[in-house]
């Protein structure tokens, strides 16, 4: 654990009982081979590794083989060999006991009860290995029963491949792309913004083409390497300028806060966890993470206010314009443009603002371990902010929090190009054959937006929000009158904010613009700090006093009690957080049940009416009769059930008795019996 050196000495890491004395299974004899992806190579392996189910002092666990490939670290035991223990929500690429090399956060070795961070060359090999993952899983491996040679190989292999600097071309992305030519059309309605047409379409959609035009200025990246060759050019008209680097927390602040925040959930052992009891809220407060989320939401509301009420365009400024700008401009669009709240709209937004917008994913996620100084969870911050909106206004979003959670996990899966380049330019120069000596390109990479690569259709169903209130299709006549006007207000700002990341590239032109503005406008804007605040508050209050339109402007509540911890992402691997039959998933399951009933009634009526074509009643089979699902679903796993009682009484019996399950007849009685 970071910054908790003292904790390392806790005796909870010692096994006084050796695993043999308590475990049930014999070490596996039959050979289990890792499932390898195309282009994946086995680098090293170790047998008789003991994986603790959870560090709760019970030493329960299983023996198996620990392997390291050029893609992942994987633990293989008997269970993984057989298919009957399939989790319901299975990721096809990254298994339950797989850790992609980019997902490894930190590795600790335990030597004589002491925890040490493992980074480079090792002189001594630990008896226990603890791997903290960026998706907040924690793995504990005991190496005491492993042959010394194998320990050396596996530990140094894992540390080397996951913690030391790496060349871009050594990313698994390239081996995978050359071994598995991608023939799928993974665009899924997501606009990739890699052609001039995409930008023209977007301007058309947002009615920005009245004042903006898409031009090819950066052909061959002559202007800037940071952006893609097609950009829309802003006309020079007066705008409000907001220097984000002076009005928002710095990247360093964000990184520090997140590092502290995630420690609250990277649980070494349950005892520590229970001990946080009295100081939970002050621990939370001291991380400052929720406050940072709040400040970004607030800033986004301020920008929305300028656009929506003052009809002033806003130019967001930041040194590189590829970090805080991306967060704010994306948030503003999610709040103002209901298209950004659909799945394809949100994905297009990320393509536009982040991927082609030149956010340095490689550096910010530290995928290559070049330097820790550049690391900052900027994209995660966006997802955290969007999650606040999703949980405040569920019907306004086509996607679920599960979607956001798996999207955050996908940041670390290097078979998709989406999050593995610093810019479109970097991608292009590394894709085309000319710069590649080893391979003959060009490569065709997968995009993360093709969710079928990771999930089967039934699992994908969990990414869609059943409560989403779809936008009604307006009549053509209506569209002309009301809609146009509305869209204009939305659209100008949209393209304008999009044009924000331009400070870096239009060197001469923009500098000129900025100089002009600095002289005239900015001073006024910055000095009159009271004025924007008051108008902000007024805007915020007046919006909140009106009924909400899920397809219109959406402002988050930002008062202290409203900003919450994204429980699904941060608590999902902690068995103690589990509720049988409870949590948000219980609500979701019940809503799906209701939906099915309404649909089947609708079908029934249609049939009665005109023998209409029968419709497929869509359902999520996993959630059916799910009164007793765990609250950690879809991430909860059977082996992860807590065995530690909260108070000194014995464990509750497994609640999944067949007899306990809902009987549908019974439900019907209950729902209808006394409504008349």
């Amino acid at each position: 654990m970071l910054g908790s050196g003292a904790k390392a000495a806790k005796p909870s890491f010692v096994s006084y009982i050796s695993p043999e004395e308590i475990h049930i299974k014999e070490p596996i004899e039959k050979e289990v081979n890792p499932r390898l992806l195309p282009g994946e190579l086995l680098l090293c392996e170790a047998n008789t590794v003991y994986k603790y189910i959870q560090e709760d002092g019970s030493n329960r666990g299983t023996y198996g083989k620990l392997v390291c490939t050029n893609f992942k670290i994987a633990f293989l035991d008997e269970d993984s060999a057989s298919d009957d223990n399939e989790p319901q929500f299975k990721n096809k690429i990254v298994g339950e006991n797989d850790i992609t090399l980019q997902c490894v956060d930190q590795i600790y070795g335990v030597y004589d009860e002491k925890k040490k961070l493992l980074t480079g060359q090792l002189r001594k090999y630990p008896e226990k290995l603890i791997i903290y993952c960026k998706d907040l899983r924690v793995f504990h491996f005991c190496l005491r029963y492993t042959k010394e040679e194998e320990v050396k190989r596996i530990v140094s292999g894992i540390v080397h491949h996951s913690q030391t600097p790496k060349l871009l071309k050594r990313l698994f992305l390239f081996s995978y792309a050359s071994a598995a030519p991608n023939n799928t059309d993974g665009r899924n309605q997501t606009v990739m913004f890699d052609t001039l047409e995409d930008w023209r379409d977007e301007l058309e959609r947002t009615k920005g083409n009245v004042k903006y035009k898409a031009v090819v200025t950066n052909e061959g990246y002559r202007v800037s390497e940071k952006i893609y060759k097609t950009i829309s050019k802003p006309p020079y008209e007066l705008l409000k300028t907001d220097d984000l680097s002076s009005s928002l927390p710095s990247l360093q602040d964000i990184q520090t806060a997140y590092t502290r925040f995630k420690q609250l959930f990277l649980i070494d052992n349950s005892t520590d966890f229970w001990a946080t009891d009295v100081k939970w809220f002050s621990l939370l407060e001291s991380t400052n993470w929720l406050e940072i989320i709040r400040r970004f939401l607030k800033k986004a509301i301020e920008v929305a206010e300028c656009l929506e009420r003052q009809h002033t365009n806003v130019l967001l400024i930041e040194e590189s314009a590829t970090d805080l700008c991306c967060v704010i401009s994306s948030l503003v669009q999610v709040m103002m443009d209901s298209y950004s709240r659909t799945k394809s709209g949100f994905q297009s937004l990320i393509q536009k603002e982040w991927v082609t917008g030149g956010h340095g994913f490689l550096d910010r996620c530290n995928h290559l371990h070049k330097t820790d100084k550049e690391e900052a969870p900027v994209f995660l911050l966006l997802l955290n902010c969007v999650w606040q909106l999703v949980q405040q206004y569920p019907p306004a979003f086509e996607f679920t929090e599960t979607y956001l959670t798996v999207l955050s996990d996908s940041l670390y899966v290097p078979i998709f190009s989406t999050f593995f380049f610093n810019s479109q330019h970097q991608k292009d120069t590394n894709t085309t054959g000319e710069s590649l000596k080893i391979q003959s390109g060009p490569f065709k990479f997968l995009t993360v937006w093709d969710w079928s690569v990771q999930f089967e259709p039934k699992a994908q169903a969990l990414l869609s929000n059943p409560l989403y209130a779809e936008k009604p299709k307006p009549d053509k006549s209506q569209r002309k009158t009301t809609r146009f006007k509305h869209q204009r207000q939305l659209s100008l700002p949209l393209t304008q904010t999009k044009s924000s990341p331009k400070r870096g590239f239009f060197r001469e032109e923009t500098d000129h613009l900025i100089k002009n503005l600095l002289g005239k406008r900015i001073g006024k804007f910055i000095n009159s700090s009271d004025e924007p605040h008051n108008s902000f508050r007024e805007f915020y209050d007046s919006w909140h006093s009106k009924p909400v339109d899920y397809h219109g402007l959406l402002l988050p509540c930002i008062d202290g009690p409203e900003i919450k911890v994204w429980a699904q992402r941060y608590l999902r691997w902690i068995p103690e957080a589990q509720l049988h039959g409870g949590g948000t998933i219980a609500t979701a399951a019940k809503i799906l049940d209701l939906m099915e009933e309404v649909q089947s009634l609708q079908v029934k009526m249609d049939e009665e009416h005109s023998q209409a074509i029968s419709r497929d009643v869509q359902a999520v089979p996993m959630l059916r009769n799910s009164a007793r699902l765990s609250s950690l679903f879809p991430f909860a796993l059977h082996q992860r059930q807590s065995i530690k009682p909260a108070l000194p009484t014995s464990t509750w019996k497994d609640l999944e008795d067949e007899d306990d399950l809902v009987k549908r007849d019974d439900e019907f009685v209950d729902l209808t019996g006394d409504m008349l």
Partner: protein, 629 residues
């Protein structure tokens, strides 16, 4: 009425504490029961009603240029900040409210004047709606081990217990009387809940008068009888819900706790729930946090933690979970007490019942639970809620904490309760409103003396009439869940904005999912009706259906999933109490406004006759029998 000197004051401003909007300007009226503020500056007539009994404190703040500020804090966490032009008017309103909000005589409480124009018969039926004997029967009592005794019919065992109590058959009259002399205020061990599946029981009492060394044979026999009423377990738990230090301190006063050496096979445990004074102070701190204007993350989180409120909620919940586990998993009976056994003991016992028995999570069950563990067993509502002018040190949010625990459970298990959050808030309002007789006085005997049952109305039938808006659309029915196993890790406890910031409209989601779902439910029922109507028509029709036979031509071509598009669909036809908080604020005005509210209720709903409500309850109780294998 004699307290009202100025019934009407004009030019009164109402400041909106939450927003920066311009203050409203209007007229303030004082009636016998309510303070009413009519906002004249708004385009639509806007009224704010505050029931006098809901007022916790009235403060006159220093004079400002705008006038004389009057700050009112309500027991339901409403805060109203008026500015009155004339200092003299302000003072008169102030003194009137002081007297009106806390009458000296019980007869001045609202319940004695409240007249909903209901027939005498219906009023009496209303009081008989909840019969605790039926609940004991549901548990299988009387049986071989337990009996309902009238030993307390003249309150000679204990004057704060009801006349009928449940004790072990093996405990004879001498044992009962003997034990009562050894228990603080005679509150002997009686049954609270019997877990029928394994005969383990939850019993409750007050602390023993053990001092440093005293013992009592009858009391020891009593505990033995309880233990032996559960032959499946060789031991029983005795749980003292106080912190150990508090219990030890009581020994010096001749009270204390059970000595394990004197009682056979008991396991003694402390569960440190703090006393009423700590809880009162904690709530005060929480109030201050809630009243911070647009709090930052840091203000809120540190404030919340320093108030300790959620820590206390967790302590109560932990105790409830402990009891439920002891009964269900260890099959052991538990005897629970605190000091007098009417505050913490009531919280813990009722919570454990709620965790163990799905019946208590239904409308009727929850009413039974409150009647049984709180009202009948002598929780001193009158003192704890400060109904009358009295000792402010007796006031404490004990019942509020219980209601909040239930809400926390609802958050964790959204499909297990038949009712929703509004039901809890409504009950909480009426505990303080003194509009109904249920919560007046401190115990059964006192309510008899006050002639509550003859002179006032019972709350429960009124709640049942409004059942539709209190329903939880996510409820999965009675048999879907049996025992609940809540999580009591600190992050599992959420701040209840809906209670403590209920009147700050800006702090709630604009249109909650609950409303959405309630309207989905009614739409589903409409569809079902339509479908069955069609089915009935079918036999009379030959050949293809003529279109005009169909009463809803558009339905077939409507979008695939109509409920998913409901925000548009139902905006026109608002489900009950759509605007959050607003209607709730008027709820206390039952007699006048209720009628108006009811008209706002969904139009498809036939107005309930009171008798219908009872009929429904009965059939529900039948359906609701636990189907234990």
């Amino acid at each position: 009425m004699e307290h009202i000197t100025t019934p009407k004051v004009e030019n009164v401003k109402l400041l909106d504490r939450y927003t920066n909007r311009k203050a409203a300007n209007g007229t303030l009226y004082l009636t016998a029961t309510h303070l009413i503020y009519v906002d004249a500056s708004a385009e639509v007539r806007k009224e704010t009603w505050i029931l006098h009994h809901h007022i916790a404190t009235v403060e006159k703040l220093p004079l400002t240029t705008a006038g004389c500020p009057l700050l009112i804090h309500c027991k339901n966490f409403h805060v109203a900040h008026f500015v009155i032009g004339q200092e003299r008017d302000c003072h008169e309103v102030y003194t009137s409210l002081l007297k009106l909000s806390q009458p000296v005589k019980p007869e001045d409480l609202y319940a004695f004047s409240y007249n909903p124009k209901m027939s005498k018969d219906n009023r009496e039926i209303g009081w008989k709606l909840i019969d605790l004997k039926v609940d004991y029967q549901r548990m299988g009592i009387p049986n071989d081990y337990w009996e309902i005794t009238d030993a307390n019919k003249d309150y000679e065992v204990c004057n704060t217990y009801p006349p009928e109590i449940v004790v072990p058959r093996a405990a004879n009259k001498a044992t009962v009387i003997g034990s009562s002399r050894f228990r603080s205020r005679g509150r002997i061990p009686v049954l609270s809940y019997l877990y029928k599946e394994n005969n383990a029981a939850i019993c409750r009492c007050s602390q023993p008068l053990s001092g440093f060394s005293a013992r009592c044979l009858e009391d020891e026999q009593m505990l033995q009888a309880i233990r032996e009423a559960n032959p499946g377990s060789p031991f029983m738990y005795v749980v003292d819900t106080r912190p150990k230090l508090n219990a030890i301190a009581n020994r010096a006063a001749g009270k204390g706790y059970e000595n394990e050496d004197n009682y056979d096979n008991i396991r003694f445990k402390f569960i440190g729930i703090e006393n009423i004074h700590v809880m009162r102070n904690s709530l005060q701190k929480l109030r201050e946090v809630c009243e911070t204007k647009s709090p930052s993350m840091s203000d809120f989180l540190t404030g919340l933690e320093n108030s300790g409120w959620l820590r206390h909620i967790k302590a109560v919940m932990d105790a409830g979970v402990f009891l439920a586990k002891a009964v269900k998993d260890e099959k052991a009976s538990v005897l629970v007490h605190c000091s007098d056994g009417w505050d913490r003991t009531a919280q813990v016992c009722s919570l454990a019942s709620l965790l163990l028995d799905p019946f208590y999570r239904t409308f009727k069950g929850f009413m039974v639970l409150i009647e049984k563990e709180w009202i009948a067993m002598g929780h001193k509502f009158s003192h704890r809620c400060g109904h009358l002018d009295g000792d402010p040190k007796e006031v404490s949010p004990v019942f509020t904490q219980f209601i909040e625990c239930v809400w926390q459970l609802m958050q964790q298990f959204p499909c297990t309760f038949e009712f929703n959050e509004r039901f809890l808030l409504e009950i909480h309002d009426h505990v303080y409103s003194c509009q109904f007789g249920n919560f007046l006085g401190t115990c059964h005997k006192e309510r008899e003396d006050l002639k509550i049952f003859e002179k006032t109305h019972s709350l429960w039938p009124f709640l049942l009439q409004k059942k539709q808006e209190f329903r939880n659309p996510l409820y999965r029915g009675f048999t879907a869940y049996k025992e609940l196993q809540p999580n009591t890790l600190p992050f599992s406890f959420q701040f209840w904005c809906g209670m403590y910031n209920r009147f700050d409209k800006g702090m709630h989601p604009k249109q909650c999912v609950l409303d959405h779902l309630l309207s989905c439910m009614s739409q589903k029922m409409k569809l079902e009706d339509n479908a069955s109507e069609l089915e009935n028509k079918l036999p009379f029709l030959d050949g293809p259906l003529p279109t005009e036979a169909c009463s809803f031509p558009k339905m077939g071509s409507a979008s695939k999933t109509p409920m998913l598009n409901t925000p548009q669909d139902y905006e026109g036809e608002p489900p009950p109490v759509l605007t959050n908080g607003t209607a709730v604020g008027d709820v206390e005005v039952m007699s006048d406004v209720d009628q108006k509210n009811k008209e706002n209720l969904s139009k498809h709903q036939d107005p309930h006759d009171l008798k219908d409500a009872f009929g429904v309850l009965d059939s529900e109780a039948k359906d609701g029998k636990p189907q234990h294998p």
